[in-house]
């Protein structure tokens, strides 16, 4: 796990630091690091292209589910989830496509869910706002702002009781910080010492309400500090920053059961819900969006990988082509899948259906 730290040392100081990591040759270290750096780029691109495909097809109006797009925020899901084991818990929100993909959910069962098909991750019962993939630690997502945070505290409590050494990540936006559940959860986690990583994706807007219209201070992190929880703010558009912060947080949760709070400053490019830009409607200034687009997390990381000599522009194009092919296959799978039988309306209301 010291590999990346060493890499940064090489980048910033021009030489390897002595991390006592089995005397690995620099060449080998670089190879391993390259794999992680490349994977972060690939995952971010997958999320981006996955959602751009939704924008492409949405106007046909056969994808009948409200979509809350994650474009612009990809670095956060990817920088965090890369540290997680398959069965670590992740709780997320109505804006959860990115978290599922970062955790490894196949695009096919997500698209199938959006199209209301039986082959969807929730058999067409949940839609875009209620994704689930228990095989990869996604035990449900909620569309009630702040509602998923305490659920993640509950799985962490269970982990502590069962000593299963799993960690829980709860993703939420700045809107959820307005809710009582966050403060209730922070207090309880601090009290009980639970293995949780709070990841606040502060994109400054709850639907169209700006942070400053809702809160007396900009810094959500202060809520965690008030509960004596390890906390830090990072540039949510820099995947390596998120990666480093999350690495420490996950290690700390796993090794000593300590919670952390990471506030990631970022920006949502598209409207709150739907496939369009919302500056056209006057929801926020276009100039603000333009500034953030210049700060695109994928472009930023692409430049980094190129500067490291890990990929060339041609490699990048190849990467997109491979991802796009995967997405086409996933969309085709979804559209060819059967709709649920209407009798399934009455199924899954109760466990054991009695």
């Amino acid at each position: 796990m010291k590999i990346l730290e060493n890499l940064f040392h090489i980048i910033y100081y021009g030489k390897s630091c002595d991390l006592n990591s089995e005397n690995m040759e620099i060449e080998e270290i670089m190879k391993a690091d390259k794999a992680i750096i490349l994977e972060l780029l690939r995952k971010m691109l997958l999320i981006r292209r996955f959602e751009e495909k939704i924008i492409d097809v949405y106007s046909v109006q056969d994808m009948k589910t409200p979509v809350h797009l994650y474009i612009g925020q990809e670095a956060i899901a990817c920088g965090v989830c890369v540290h997680l084991k398959n069965d670590d818990y992740v709780f997320s929100t109505h804006r959860s496509h990115g978290h599922c993909l970062a955790k490894g959910t196949p695009p096919s069962i997500l698209y199938a869910e959006f199209y209301g098909r039986k082959s969807g991750c929730a058999k067409g019962k949940g839609g875009s706002m209620h994704l689930v993939d228990t095989e990869r630690g996604i035990w449900g997502t909620t569309a009630i702002v702040g509602g998923g945070i305490p659920l993640g505290i509950g799985t962490a409590l269970a982990s502590k009781m069962k000593r299963d050494n799993k960690v829980t990540v709860v993703f939420f936006g700045d809107g959820a910080a307005d809710e009582g559940t966050l403060q209730e959860s922070l207090n309880f986690v601090s009290l009980k010492k639970l293995p949780v990583i709070f990841v606040c994706e502060n994109n400054f807007y709850a639907t169209n309400s700006h942070l400053r219209a809702r809160r007396a201070t900009d810094d959500i992190i202060r809520q965690a500090q008030a509960c004596s929880i390890n906390s830090l703010q990072v540039n949510g558009n820099n995947v390596m920053d998120v990666y480093n912060a999350a690495k420490n947080a996950v290690d700390m949760a796993r090794d000593s059961g300590e919670a952390s709070f990471i506030e990631c400053k970022t920006y949502r490019w598209m409207e709150h819900v739907g496939p369009n830009y919302d500056y056209i409607k006057g929801c926020r200034p276009q100039s603000e969006l333009d500034e953030w687009i210049k700060n695109c997390p994928i472009e930023h990381h692409k430049d980094f990988t190129k500067s490291m000599g890990i990929i060339t522009e041609d490699d990048f194009v190849d990467m997109i082509n491979i991802i796009d092919a995967e997405i086409e296959t996933a969309i085709a799978f979804a559209k060819e899948s059967a709709f649920p039988d209407t009798k399934e309306l009455f199924e899954d209301v109760l466990f054991n259906n009695i």
């Binding site: 305490p150 505290i153 799985t155 009781m161 209730e184 466990f351």
Partner: protein, 345 residues
């Protein structure tokens, strides 16, 4: 069957010669025993709630359990009802079996988001992939000026929500058996108790047993009129039946025990025999459980009815404090007697 008997007082129990030798304990002791046995049996079971470990132990129903199981499994919690309900749901998602205890049912409105939007819907929203095995205990208060925020009976609200089960045990036997069933059900179960039942006594086996959720029981056989009574109203119905027996009226009393799912078959069967129905609920009449039962009877059993269905419940008024107003607020056995007499006249 000794297990379905209702005793109005200790004297009745003492006079019950037929079942001498059976153990009798109180409702609160039966609840405590259910917790104790299930926590012994299954380490996934734990209790959380405000004051569950205090010397009073939720009116005696959890007293002493923290000494045996420790405060990790009999967990006092911050006063954060909604968040802590979410924590319990999360623990259930991870395979634990939490029992969340509220000393007053009036505290449930603070948990509504987690109960209604999360616990109740998680199984359906996840396409049947994630169930929530959680028991939420709450106690209806009454009397001594408890007033509007310490004596609500809002079980009807939860009946309205798909994905929840609602049980309302009236006897010690049912309190223990239903709590054990609820813990093994796999669904979120609202377990609604009544403070006035805590000292009631009845026969209770020592071991683990279950009372099936969704199955009612005939408390008293009769042929003239059916009374469906819920929770504490069972005792009022028994008193009413006693009084009417002297006047030659034979009352059948049904205790649904679960109000969701409801054993409508048992109610319908009784109506086939008696043709008359009175429903006595501890909650409000307005859009309440009585209204639901009456509607189902009108829809499916209209041809068997010899008269209109009568409902007894709380008026559409918050609970008052003054003892004079309280007395006027709560219906009792006399209201049941009067309803039956009206129906028979």
């Amino acid at each position: 069957m000794p297990w379905t008997k209702v005793f109005l007082n200790n004297k009745e129990l003492d006079n019950d010669g037929v079942n001498k030798g059976l153990r009798s304990i109180s409702y609160k002791e039966a609840l405590k025993e259910a917790h104790n046995l299930m926590m012994d049996k299954d380490e996934r079971v734990f209790i959380m709630g405000e004051g569950v470990d205090d010397p009073g132990g939720v009116f005696g129903s959890t007293v002493g359990l923290c000494d045996k199981f420790g405060r990790d499994r009999v967990m006092d919690i911050p006063l954060a009802e909604n968040g802590m309900t979410g924590v319990a749901i999360g623990a259930a998602i991870a395979g634990m079996k939490p029992i969340f205890v509220h000393m007053r049912m009036d505290f449930l409105p603070m948990c509504m988001d987690q109960i209604i939007n999360h616990a109740a819907k998680w199984y359906y929203m996840s396409g049947g992939r994630v169930n929530v095995n959680i028991v939420i205990r709450s106690i209806i208060g009454r009397g001594w000026g408890s007033a509007a925020q310490h004596s609500q009976a809002i079980h009807g609200l939860f009946v309205h929500i798909p994905g929840l089960k609602v049980v309302m045990p009236a006897t010690p036997y049912d309190a223990k058996g239903l709590l054990i069933s609820a813990l093994e059900d796999g669904n979120p179960v609202m377990f609604v108790e009544h403070r006035w039942l805590y000292d009631s006594i009845g026969y209770v086996p020592n071991d683990i047993y279950t009372v099936p959720i969704g199955k009612g029981v005939v408390r008293r056989q009769g042929k003239d009129v059916t009374v469906v009574a819920i929770s504490h109203m069972i005792y009022e119905a028994m008193l009413a039946a006693k009084e009417l027996q002297n006047e030659g009226v034979d009352v059948e009393i049904i205790d649904p025990r679960s109000i969701k799912p409801l054993d409508e078959g048992l109610i319908f069967e009784s109506i086939r025999k008696t043709g008359r129905l009175v429903i006595a609920d501890v909650g409000g009449k307005m859009v309440g459980v009585g209204a639901e039962i009456a509607s189902r009877v009108y829809e499916d059993m209209y041809g068997f009815l010899k008269g209109p269905v009568r409902r007894i419940g709380l008026p559409d008024v918050p609970t008052p404090c003054s003892s004079v107003l309280e007395k006027a607020y709560y219906p009792d056995y006399k209201d049941i007697v009067n309803s039956i007499k009206t129906l028979l006249s």
